[in-house]
């Protein structure tokens, strides 16, 4: 019998060592596995290399991990945002290394790792400083640069629902990097709003098949959902809207 569910987020992230390469899903806050990141912070692992599209927002989630000085290096496409002050400060102080990767090459390099592709020729970034030093080749008259897979020891992913085999479905644009990261890590750890019985997920609609998933932990509904149904009442960062009463 296969049961990939674990009871707590602490169990979910147990054993992540210092120096690990950790992929963290999400595009900004959407799909960011905040509860798993909090558990990773509590777990104490440091000297991490993080692979994630952004470098943290505000003071929570990935930003909190950076603020706790657990990250030596980050591979991402878009660190600088209006609310990336934690990363900005560390970067300016020379206390974090950055490898900047165009977003599509980031996604495709992660996919390549999961798909057993040794390297691929991408047209993205050709002739730019982000392709400096990379092998270039003209194929059928178009310029390409050779890009290598990005793999990780651990992937932390947020999805909507899972079953005990680890099959996953996501919600809207929170899907983003989850499926490719789940395929590219030695150990894939997933937080979901809800674990459903085996057979409850339609096999036509499973996005990440369970073979990519090692551990699943249920963390409860996002504040804007109730039983998977959208109820709103939050801003784009997921904070409750002020009610007229509260605003007074």
């Amino acid at each position: 019998m296969i049961d990939k569910t674990v009871a707590t987020v602490a169990d979910a992230v147990a054993g992540i060592p210092d120096g690990a390469t950790v992929m963290i899903g999400g595009f900004g806050r959407a799909g960011q596995p905040v509860e798993l990141i909090d558990a990773l912070i509590a777990g104490g692992a440091g000297d991490l290399t993080i692979v994630s599209n952004n470098a943290g927002n505000g003071d929570t989630g990935l930003a909190a991990l950076l603020a706790a000085r657990r990250v030596r290096r980050i591979i991402c496409s878009f660190p600088r945002q209006h609310d990336s002050w934690v990363f900005d400060g560390l970067y300016r102080a020379g206390e974090i290394e950055l490898e900047l990767v165009p977003q599509g090459n980031l996604a495709e390099r992660i996919r390549a790792a999961g798909a057993g592709i040794g390297a691929f020729f991408s047209p993205t970034g050709v002739g730019t400083e982000l392709a400096a030093g990379k092998e270039e080749r003209v194929i059928e008259g178009r310029r390409y640069v050779l890009e290598y897979p990005i793999r990780a020891d651990v992937a932390l992913v947020s999805a909507l629902r899972a079953d005990r085999w680890g099959n996953l479905v996501y919600r809207e644009t929170a899907r983003n990097f989850g499926p490719v990261m789940a395929s590219a890590a030695t150990t894939t750890i997933v937080q979901v709003d809800e674990v459903v019985p085996l057979g409850a997920l339609d096999p036509e609609t499973v996005v990440t098949p369970g073979l990519y998933v090692d551990r699943v932990v249920a963390v409860g509904s996002r504040p804007w959902l109730d039983g998977g149904e959208f109820v709103g009442g939050v801003d784009v960062e997921g904070r409750p809207l002020e009610t007229p009463e509260a605003a007074r």
């Binding site: 959407a30 878009f78 977003q103 599509g104 730019t128 899907r175 959208f230 784009v236």
Partner: protein, 217 residues
């Protein structure tokens, strides 16, 4: 110099050039405005690279859904007929040339169609590229939406870009507040001028030799 047309008018002008049924990605910032001027009687399908085709307008307050955002991380909606997909599939869609039009901002555009829009190269600046390089090479037509001149009055249309490149030979057309320029084998061709702008004046402002294509097509 006065600006010939405003940003909204420019967005409307670009929207008018996008054929019904097109698949379009609008870059972060000013290009997002184009969505507001797409004709209501047409179906132009918007792609956002974080995993959605069929993006709709911003939701009403109270209906903001943090799981449903655009590439600028603003709340959006999904239209009937929408589809979600993961990031590798989304960028495959762009890189594979399946989008008809992409509209991007620019720091500079060269007369060979090179685009610089992601980094000023200023020392100490924190670099961030996002999907810019993928967008630059990832649509059948890449339109740039920009002021012709910087705040300091220098031309954003140049012989060769000084700023770090986003993409090489990727821009099809540049929509500015003064005129519309096509990138041709002979460099910039003025396709249309706004107000009483003349090609001579544009040559003076840009310091470039410009092809006069205003009588064509």
């Amino acid at each position: 110099m006065t600006t010939r047309i405003g940003r909204d008018e420019l967005a409307r002008r670009i929207a008018a050039d996008i054929p019904d049924g097109s698949y379009v990605n609008l870059g972060i910032g000013a290009p997002t405005l184009v969505a507001e001027y797409l004709p209501a009687d047409q179906e132009i399908i918007l792609h956002t690279e974080n995993g959605l085709l069929g993006m709709g307008p911003a939701p009403a307050a109270g209906s903001v859904d943090p799981d449903l955002i655009n590439a600028g991380k603003q709340a959006v909606t999904a239209l009937p007929g929408a589809a979600y997909f993961h990031h590798a599939d989304s960028f495959a869609m762009m890189r594979g040339g399946h989008l008809d039009v992409c509209v991007l901002g620019a720091f500079q555009v060269s007369e060979t169609g090179d685009l610089a829009n992601w980094s000023t190269g200023a020392p100490g600046a924190i670099p961030a590229v996002g999907g810019a390089m993928d967008l630059a090479i990832g649509a059948k037509a890449v339109y740039v939406m920009t002021d012709l001149l910087t705040k300091e009055g220098t031309s954003k249309l140049v012989t060769a870009c000084d700023y770090p490149l986003t993409g090489v030979r990727c821009v099809s057309r540049v929509y500015t507040d003064h005129a519309v320029f096509d990138i041709t084998d002979d460099g910039f061709a003025v396709r249309e001028t706004f107000g009483d702008t003349t090609v001579d004046e544009l040559e003076r402002l840009t310091g470039l030799h410009l092809v006069d294509a205003t009588r064509e097509g």
